[in-house]
Subunit: 212 residues, 2 copies
Amino acid sequence: MRVVVPFDAAEPKTRLAPVLDDAERRAFAHCMLGDVLDAVTTTVGSESTVDVLATTPTDVDRADVGVTVDDRPLTAAVNEAIADTVHADETLAVVMADLALVSPDAVARLRGTAGDVVLAPGRGVGTNALVVRAPDFRVDFHGTSFLDHRRTAADVGTVETVDSFRLATDIDEPADLVEAFVHGGERTVEWLTERFELVVGEKERRVSLARR
Amino acid sequence: MRVVVPFDAAEPKTRLAPVLDDAERRAFAHCMLGDVLDAVTTTVGSESTVDVLATTPTDVDRADVGVTVDDRPLTAAVNEAIADTVHADETLAVVMADLALVSPDAVARLRGTAGDVVLAPGRGVGTNALVVRAPDFRVDFHGTSFLDHRRTAADVGTVETVDSFRLATDIDEPADLVEAFVHGGERTVEWLTERFELVVGEKERRVSLARR
């Protein structure tokens, strides 16, 4: 199996701009990437290859992870990876770099699910992770990608989904940070804990993060 | 095993008021309750009992489900259920009535997870479902209930969590409706589909629901 972790190295996590400045967004994105790579490399074993699919040259500083630079949009870059990998009879897994909650167990469930295409839905009808064993499947990450992927996958083979909160929770917006704070990987939690604390609102008892 | 499904029959889903009127909120809440009861009764088998724990008398119109009326707040009512059930050496499962995405598989994973207390975290640090096998465990559903439950459960026994998007997604706010529309149970999807359609926003390609 080859696992690719798409990572926007140029302008990561722009929708977090209301609460994190440029340098913070960059540092936080690298924490999440590190946690995702930890979960993936712990799970997949040495017979698999793991590559960060980065928009610009990126130093991940790990012997067990490669970097493939592709400056095209996500959809084109992932489709190239499918063509390269699945056409050569290897299974491809795609795991987004902002899945701060991802755990080895969640990755194991993803890769252990049979099906020509295995989809992990994200909130907002997105697709946060997938496994492709059908060479003719192509992704399209715009809009309602989970529904589109489920439909197009059914045209080329069997489709399964993975029911995981950890895979469904991508950290895109300020409201998502509380999930990363509570359930995230080690680097993410440490980084957030140094800067934020949990607060429980008066109204509706909603939980959010506030600067320390 | 006894399964209780807490249901606010008096004023259900008040936070959906921006998009659903009173009668709609009531009807929609009953659709979600019906889907939750379908998933639960399909899974647990006839050796288990399933009760709606309702704040006011409620007609669920099913031979396989009982109704227990308890007009106290959720925490007190669930703690009474724990006292009644777990003290009598029966396992208690609690599954919230607004888990529109819940499936038989998700319920099976919940009940099949070993542990004196098994927690299914919800978004926003909530607890959306749990299994209690430790008679001294007590719930408290305010604020950061997942963290509180994990801590207090560790004082009385072993604690496990269930990683499920379907159990993590309670339908509280207008933004949650898109999840129910796409991934929900049969009654919920039918009810929403009659009234709403998916729209993909120009900005950020966010997906939401709009009235038909």
